[in-house]
């Protein structure tokens, strides 16, 4: 779009070497993103369906878990009793961490307990991208495309946090609410060299972050056509070579990149990442970003979100999540024989039209290139902080708490004695 800014325009791209303007560009802001989880039930959010015939992961019998871990039934009941000091709205139940061998903390040492299991997806339909080029591995897309690689979905797709229809799973709602209320902003720029944006063999798609918050419209949706300035970021950036056919953008080459993840663990580090995005008639852009991600980060994210709280509220045993991710990991950066440190993954992306500006806000981004050279030094990798609490090894450290959990904590006996003496 032609425009004239009286405040004096400067082209920020001039600061970057060898950048040529594209013949067309389109800007978007991501208004919703969530792990691509195909929901096989006809309605509800946790009902049995073709994906999970038994429904979501069932609620855990924690008395049984703790007695299996070596606690007496009385101790287990004491620990689970909300009236007792071992339970707190803040830390949930820290002692639950110490149920590994020799009462090891299972959150930081998940293999100290046997695999408790995690209900996995058994359906054949899945969403995402064919990452390995093989039609023989993976799911079949809802549209019938074979070879969709998304073992992350296979692993956690029946976990109630992730399961549900499009835009309705509890996890997606939680993190997208945060994003839409100003937590972070991801912008996309699509730039092509051809004459027809709907059919162009040479396209580049960039994912960047912006410090400008999204704005809600009169209906509570994210408003279209707002302006966002790219914030150069040392980590959150991905640039995809691609092509467009009938409005569908697909990668022409897999790349490595990092996106801001809608999850407790913020970094979605993708190896061999690809995109499949469609430019819709209404101006929106929807589709997937896929790739192989380090599976341990996912586990670490949930542990850091307070293991006992996550386990109690979302009906999983985190060691079970650890074992399942490890079991289903399907990619090694060092080659086919290397350790499978990564798991195939797809992020479902819904974006709406926006004006994406250069970092100095003087002009619309006219081509897609990396802005990392303009970024400040990379900050340390981080969990999304939970305000006002300190989480260490998956449990909340509260020095004022009447009860301090640990492998040698006196769970029950002395308390009974103390109660008797009173």
């Amino acid at each position: 779009m032609k425009h004239h800014i009286a405040a004096g325009l400067a082209i920020a791209a001039a600061a970057l070497p060898g950048v040529a303007s594209a013949d067309w560009t389109r800007g978007y802001v991501v208004e919703w993103n969530e792990p691509a989880m195909y929901y096989g039930a006809k309605d509800g959010v946790i009902d049995p369906g073709t994906d999970c015939p038994g429904g979501t992961n069932p609620e855990v019998d924690w008395i049984k878990v703790m007695t299996t871990a070596g606690y007496t039934e009385e101790e287990a009941k004491w620990l689970r009793n909300p009236a007792n000091p071992t339970r707190s709205p803040v830390h949930g139940q820290n002692q639950m961490a110490f149920r590994g061998k020799d009462r090891a903390n299972v959150y930081v040492n998940p293999t100290s307990t046997p695999d408790p299991g995690l209900t996995a997806v058994t359906g054949t339909i899945g969403e995402g991208i064919d990452l390995d080029g093989s039609k023989k591995t993976g799911f079949t897309s809802p549209a019938g495309e074979k070879g969709i690689d998304n073992n992350f979905y296979k692993t956690v797709g029946c976990w109630k946090t992730y399961r549900g229809p499009r835009r309705l799973s509890s996890g997606a709602l939680q993190f997208n609410d945060s994003m839409r209320n100003g937590g972070w902003t991801t912008v996309i720029v699509v730039a092509g060299k051809g004459n027809d944006p709907m059919n162009d063999k040479e396209v580049t798609v960039g994912f960047f972050v912006s410090d400008d918050k999204m704005v809600k419209d009169g209906n509570g949706s994210i408003a279209r056509d707002y302006t966002f300035n790219v914030k150069p970021h040392a980590r959150y950036e991905a640039v995809f070579p691609a092509k467009v056919e009938n409005g569908v953008i697909t990668s022409t080459k897999a790349v490595d990149g990092v996106l801001r993840e809608p999850a407790y663990w913020r970094d979605l580090e993708l190896l061999r990442a690809q995109i499949k995005l469609e430019m819709k008639q209404d101006g929106s852009l929807i589709g997937y970003v896929g790739g192989y991600r380090p599976w341990e980060d996912v586990y670490r994210g949930w542990v850091g979100a307070r293991g006992p709280v996550i386990e109690s509220l979302t009906w999983v045993q985190l060691p079970g999540v650890y074992y399942a991710l490890r079991r289903n990991a399907d990619f090694s950066p060092t080659g086919p024989k290397g350790e499978k440190t990564h798991i195939s993954y797809a992020l479902r992306v819904d974006a709406i039209p926006a004006f994406v500006m250069t970092p100095d806000a003087t002009a619309q981004v006219a081509s897609v290139q990396s802005y990392k050279s303009l970024a400040a030094a990379e900050p340390g990798r981080s969990m999304a902080a939970i305000p006002s609490i300190r989480v260490v090894d998956g449990i909340v450290i509260d020095p004022k708490s009447k009860y301090q959990a640990g492998p040698t904590a006196d769970v029950f006996a002395s308390r009974v004695a103390a109660a008797a003496s009173n």
């Binding site: 779009m1 425009h3 405040a7 704005v215 009169g218 949706s221 408003a223 056509d225 302006t227």
Partner: protein, 577 residues
């Protein structure tokens, strides 16, 4: 309140009771003043004050923006003015004319009363209150008339826009002494006195006074303080400053030379921008944004930010062109230079190239947007919640920029055809509507200008199609054919009634009186001078403010006796059973 808190801390409940009692006396003082003012409203033209010379000729309730500007100028910009003000009233296109017929409701007075307490509390809680007060009391726990007198006289003059009379001063001194002695706090007493000034009718209303004109026996002229107020409220939208009050006090303001000098000074001040903003907010009828609603299913981009910033955009455009750049008023209708914010840019569907809240923006030459009529503020304000309205837009173009009023529609009009916004274009629907002979007369006059703006929907977003049909933006006025918004802008730029209307508005806004037939020669001469200045707004303001007509005395008509109605005291006839 600060004093209240302190009293409780020091002496407990007894002190609070005495404080409340003192406040009750303050209310009595204030109410006594109000009674006087109420009497003033109905006073005959010949009523004279105790000196037997001056005559009250007009009362105008100060507007919200005048109140805010005055408080900021008198007490500093840090004072928070948090209140809901009484609604204002528009008469003949201007709130300034409505202010001359407004009274004060009891609930409105409650608001002013609470606000007065808050402002007095803030003003006297400041760290530098001794320098603010101008003296230190001999004993901070007791009354000090000498110190209080200087404070009350100084701030009373700023707020009343004239020196306080001795009786006005004495009543506040009494309140201050009472409050100080009962609460054990000199500043608490001052707070009561200050609050009483802030709720006095002489502050809340501009009381315009006339005095015998020494140069024309038997004639009256506005007194110098009234002249000072007219000048400062026209140019600054605020109370006269010390220099202007000094010119009034010495009588120098009656001389043309001093008057012109003061006008030059006032217009050169940064506060002229506030004055211009207040004038254009009134003339452009921007108070309508307070009630602006849009159907979110039709215009999802509309929200409170859009409403507030569209209003601000219109003011920025006007003030930048006419005050900062001293530009040609007629360019207001054709200039492609404007200001946008990030939310507004989304409605204009253009990028916002700035990290500031506002940025200058120039629409491309081939854009349909040019001039204030294509600002989304004007377009959205003069439309329906769910659709555009060529009629409303046409009416407002005529009313706001050409001073031509349009009568209300007849009560029995069938609007069903024109309101069915799901069928065809609005042009077609209006043509159907105009088959009604009772409607066609006005619509032929109002609609063409609005129809030429139909490429903008009810929120002001650009469109070329309505219900699948291309929108025709040609329009036929009596003598000219127009096309599109640019055509309307060009038409207004070249229409002589447009600058004449601005002249009339500036004059009416300043004097608070509607012009009449005998004002025509004066207005024509001012319009000629305005044209000669290159249609420069500051020159127009200066020219009007320095003219003798700006200060002419119009004595109010004698109040008509109230009609006698049948007594309701007699018992009603019994209801038949």
């Amino acid at each position: 309140m600060r004093t209240g808190r302190r009293a409780i801390a020091v002496t407990g409940g007894r002190a609070l009771l005495t404080k409340i009692a003192a406040r009750g006396r303050m209310i009595a003082v204030v109410c006594a003043g109000l009674v006087g003012a109420a009497g003033l409203n109905a006073a005959p033209a010949a009523e004279k004050n105790s000196a037997g010379a001056a005559t009250k000729v007009a009362l105008r309730r100060i507007t919200e923006s005048q109140y805010r500007h005055t408080i900021a100028d008198v007490f500093g910009p840090g004072i928070k003015v948090e209140a809901r003000f009484e609604p204002e009233r528009r008469e003949d296109g201007l709130l300034a004319l409505g202010s001359a017929v407004l009274s004060l409701t009891s609930s409105g007075f409650e608001q002013y009363f609470a606000l007065a307490g808050s402002i007095a509390d803030q003003a006297l809680s400041r760290k530098d209150r001794e320098s603010f007060v101008g003296c230190a009391p001999h004993d901070p726990s007791k009354a000090d008339d000498a110190c209080a007198r200087g404070f009350i006289a100084k701030y009373g003059e700023s707020l009343f826009r004239r020196p306080l009379t001795e009786s006005e001063l004495q009543s506040r001194l009494k309140a201050a002494a009472l409050g100080a002695n009962q609460s054990g706090d000199f500043y608490g007493g001052l707070e009561l006195a200050l609050a009483s000034l802030l709720v006095a009718p002489d502050f809340l209303f501009r009381v315009e006074m006339a005095e015998p004109d020494p140069a024309n026996a038997g004639q009256y002229r506005l007194d110098a303080y009234t002249k000072a107020s007219r000048l400062s409220f026209l140019i600054w939208d605020s109370t006269p400053d010390a220099e202007l009050l000094a010119a009034a006090r010495s009588g120098a303001l009656h001389s043309q030379e001093e008057l012109d000098s003061q006008i030059r000074r006032l217009i050169a001040s940064p506060k002229f921008e506030a004055g211009a903003r207040a004038f254009f907010a009134d003339m452009l009828q921007l108070d309508g944004f307070g009630n602006l609603v849009k159907d979110p299913t039709i215009y999802p981009k509309f929200n409170q930010s859009i409403a507030e910033e569209s209003r601000e955009q219109m003011l920025l455009r006007a003030v930048n062109l006419l005050v900062h750049r001293k530009g040609d008023y007629r360019d207001l209708f054709t200039s492609k230079d404007t200001f946008i914010s990030r939310p507004l840019a989304s409605v204009y569907n253009v990028p916002f190239a700035s990290k500031q809240s506002w940025a200058t923006y120039t629409f491309p030459e081939d854009s349909e947007r040019s001039g204030i009529l294509t600002d989304i503020g004007f377009l959205a304000l003069n439309a329906h919640p769910g659709s555009s309205s060529p009629t409303r837009r046409g009416i407002k173009v005529l009313e706001v920029f050409m001073c031509q009023a349009t009568p209300q529609p007849p009560a029995n009009v069938d609007f069903s055809k024109v309101q069915d916004s799901k069928q065809g274009t609005v042009r077609g629907r209006l043509l159907d509507h105009m088959e009604n002979e009772g409607c066609s007369g006005c619509h032929r006059r109002t609609d063409p200008l609005g129809l030429a703006l139909e490429h903008f929907d009810g929120l002001g977003q650009l469109r070329t199609i309505e219900n699948g049909m291309p929108i025709d933006v040609t329009a036929d006025l009596k003598e000219v054919k127009l096309e599109g918004a640019q055509g309307v802008g060009e038409y207004l730029r070249n229409e002589p009634r447009v600058p004449a209307c601005l002249v009339r508005n500036v004059y009416q806004y300043g004097v608070g009186q509607k012009t009449v037939g005998r004002d025509r020669p004066y207005l024509a001469a001012q319009t000629e001078a305005f044209a000669a200045s290159g249609y420069r707004f500051p020159d127009l303001v200066a020219s009007v403010a320095s003219s003798a007509e700006f200060f002419k005395v119009v004595t109010p008509k004698k109040a008509s006796p109230a009609p006698i109605v049948a007594s309701t005291a007699s018992p009603s006839p019994p209801i038949a059973e």
